[in-house]
């Protein structure tokens, strides 16, 4: 998302069309496209089975989508909504990350304990890496040197050298890691653990754990406070953390790791995406089947938008460029 935003900022700012948020609906086999100006769904696209991971190419010319139960990554034209072609992805692709080279997708194959690396140009698998059970969280360092896969049942972050596509380190995290992100400066890796209820922060150079964040929401049992997806603001200020069935987003200070606030959103909040200038945050709420729009400055929810069944991932698309 950082890359997306950075690139979007470079685009010229003529305003023919409004920017969009694309949401994958896991149990509807569709994508809902939200117009950021009107905060309404303007298009619903039919895609492959069980769509989850969703991300744009750096120039936003195509969308990549994990169609998990179709065992493929679909490449979609965002203007027409048509599926252009499919990429080999290994079985049950759940989540992926696009390398800064804009060429290599690192894909978690949930059922096979494998990370698959696909070249989007040649449309070929260039490597498959054995990782732990149920790989899910995927990240790549800003310099592109390291790719991360977290595995849910093995409870590890696997550090993959992107030159050799070999694992070079494994670090234990708490139960059921779900999502991983590097800080913009590449110095820290953050990993959320859904059942453990924590986010672990690693020093990238040494892979040593340098911090751990726990969450506490009044009136919600701690077992139900389950960090899953999260996103960092590029100004280095906040990290927004989806807390699953507690129906809240935590606002964390990116520097001090202090939890600043909790924002009530829809049920079983999962992932999220910012708009162009990070003034609005869009969260996918799986069980309630909607998206909550959060005002980032006020840290308040401003609107709920109905989407398909079990919205999973979200991605930003600038359109007025």
């Amino acid at each position: 998302m950082r890359i997306v935003v950075a690139l979007a900022a470079m685009l010229s700012a003529s305003t023919a069309l409004a920017d969009e948020i694309w949401v994958s609906n896991e149990k509807d086999d569709t994508i809902s496209v939200i117009d950021i100006e009107t905060l309404e769904v303007t298009r619903t696209l039919e895609v492959g089975e069980r769509p989850r991971g969703i991300t744009f190419a750096q120039d936003h010319s195509v969308l990549y989508l994990c169609a998990s139960d179709s065992d493929t990554v679909q490449v979609i034209d965002p203007d027409t909504g048509k599926i252009l072609h499919e990429l080999p992805s290994g079985e049950d692709p759940e989540q992926f990350v696009l390398h800064p080279n804009n060429k290599h997708l690192y894909i978690a194959n949930e059922d096979d304990a494998i990370t698959t690396v696909v070249d989007v140009e040649s449309r070929k698998v260039i490597a498959q890496i054995d990782v732990g059970i149920e790989p899910e969280g995927m990240a790549v360092s800003p310099d592109g040197a390291i790719s991360i896969t977290t595995s849910e049942t093995t409870n590890m972050a696997h550090w993959i050298d992107t030159n050799t596509n070999q694992i070079v380190a494994n670090t234990l995290v708490d139960q059921r890691p779900r999502h991983a992100e590097f800080t913009l400066d590449g110095k820290e890796l953050w990993v959320s653990a859904e059942i453990g209820g924590t986010i672990s922060i690693f020093d990238v150079e040494t892979q040593a754990e340098k911090g751990k964040i726990s969450f506490e929401i009044q009136g919600v049992h701690r077992d139900r406070v389950q960090p899953v997806g999260f996103e960092m603001t590029k100004d280095g200020k906040y990290v927004f953390v989806a807390l699953g069935p507690s129906n809240h987003i935590a606002v964390v200070d990116q520097k001090t790791y202090e939890v600043l606030d909790y924002i009530l959103v829809g049920r079983r909040v999962w992932h999220m995406a910012f708009d162009r200038d990070e003034t609005k945050l869009f969260t996918t709420n799986g069980v309630s089947g909607d998206v909550t729009v959060i005002d980032v400055e006020k840290l308040e929810p401003i609107k709920t938008i109905k989407v398909g069944r079990f919205p999973w991932g979200a991605a930003f698309r600038p359109t007025n460029g």
Binding site: E110, D111, A113, G132, I133, E134, D143, A145, E152, T153, T154, N155, M156, H158, W159, D161, N163, I167, V168, A169, N170, L172, D174, Q175, R176, E194, I195, G196, G197, E205, T206, Q207, H221, D223, R224, P245
Partner: protein
């Protein structure tokens, strides 16, 4: 060029750290002892019970542990022994305990008791993966036995919570003639009291006719003289007759217990909280659906795996202490971390209430609060525990 050099240095440092982390190699042999139980004759031939219930769950957990272990230099192996009905299993248990200090027992309560009291088992960790017997967790508990299968008390409390939530406050009960049916019925009666449910009448199932032909005639008559009720509970662990009662009762009422809404450790209809992944991994391995005893065996070996991974130890004392500590958590695909009760070694776990097509509810239900852990609203809680021997962490 500069950048490339920098990143090379960086990678070298990673490799060194990684090598250090992998230095401690551990081999963890885990034993599995099953004593086949005589199956009571049942009216229906529809459900064949697979021969490898429990064992396949253990095998899957060994695979799971090894996938994690390969990154840490830990290797897990399973030594399974399956004995015919009527064996005591004591010699086999002794032999297994010579080679392994972790033993899963898939047997009945009294067989488990005998095995756990062998001198060879004194410093071992045993897991009860099959017996739902309440007293094994209570007055008859033992220091070296953990339980990953839920007790009948936990199962009954799950039904009660659901009934309270639905305001199904009036119950009647049919119990089968077998020992397990009586024990389940007793747990249901106790649970009804605990949750202030009015259980107005209990009847024993006495028919010996073949229900495949006669359910439609006999069940309405059998249930006709029950006082009015919100739900009919059936305790029939082998599902001998319960299946024929469903939809054939005098009054149109929901059924729960051994038929209808069924509480269990695990069911084929559990899919939320990542369970679909466990289901598909299991099915790929076993060629069938995962059952409760499979799940209990899986959870036992995964618990040991977690303890070994986090402590980097193969010493049973350390593993036991870790499993009973606040640090231990098992992600068991039921939406909450699973932990062990340190007063009786029972694995705390949500109980799905299911029918063959879906999960109806997951206990503990919302609103059943607890001072420490909502999962302790299911089964024997610490203040009422009669277990003296388990003794918590050493």
């Amino acid at each position: 060029m500069m950048l490339r050099l920098l990143s090379l240095c960086f990678l070298t440092s990673i490799l060194i750290v990684n090598a250090a982390a992998q230095q401690k190699k551990l081999d963890i042999p885990i034993a599995y002892l099953e004593i086949r139980q005589p199956l009571p004759p049942t009216l229906s031939n529809l459900d064949e019970i697979p021969e490898d219930v429990g064992l396949q769950g253990a095998e899957l957990a060994i695979k799971d542990n090894n996938t994690t272990g390969k990154f840490l230099g830990q290797t897990y192996s399973l030594e399974p022994v399956v004995l015919e009905e009527g064996s005591a299993g004591l010699d086999e248990a002794r032999k297994l305990l010579e080679a392994s200090s972790v033993l899963l027992v898939n047997a009945n309560a009294s067989q488990l008791q005998d095995i756990a009291q062998l001198p060879e088992a004194e410093n071992a960790i045993l897991f009860n993966v099959a017996s739902r017997d309440v007293s094994l967790r209570d007055d008859a508990c033992l220091i070296n036995v953990f339980h990953t299968i839920p007790s009948r008390a936990m199962l009954a409390d799950a039904i009660s919570q659901f009934a309270v939530k639905k305001r199904w406050a009036d119950w009647v009960l049919i119990e089968g003639a077998l020992e397990g049916d009586k024990a389940f019925a007793a747990a249901i009666e106790k649970s009804a009291k605990k949750f202030r449910i009015n259980l107005s009448e209990k009847k024993e199932w006495v028919f010996d006719a073949d229900m495949r032909r006669n359910a439609a005639q006999e069940v309405p008559l059998f249930t006709q003289d029950f006082p009015d009720h919100d739900v009919l509970i059936i305790a029939d662990e082998a599902n001998d007759f319960a299946r024929y009662v469903l939809y054939n009762t005098w009054l149109p009422r929901p059924i729960a217990g051994s038929e209808g809404i069924v509480p269990s450790a695990w069911s084929a209809s559990v899919e939320q909280h990542g369970a679909a992944q466990l289901q598909s991994r299991f099915e790929e391995l076993a060629g069938r659906k995962m059952r409760s005893i499979d799940y209990a065996a899986w959870a036992a070996i995964r618990s040991i795996g977690e303890a070994v991974t986090r402590t980097q130890s193969d010493q049973t004392g350390q593993l036991r202490d870790y499993m009973l500590s606040d640090k231990f958590q098992l992600a068991g695909f039921k939406g909450r971390p699973l932990t062990f009760r340190n007063w009786n070694g029972q694995l705390r776990q949500p109980i799905p209430l299911t029918h063959p097509g879906a999960v109806v509810a997951l206990a503990p239900l919302d609103g059943f609060l607890h001072q420490f852990n909502e999962l302790d609203t299911l089964g024997i809680d610490q203040p009422e525990s009669q277990c003296e021997k388990f003794g918590g962490a050493q």
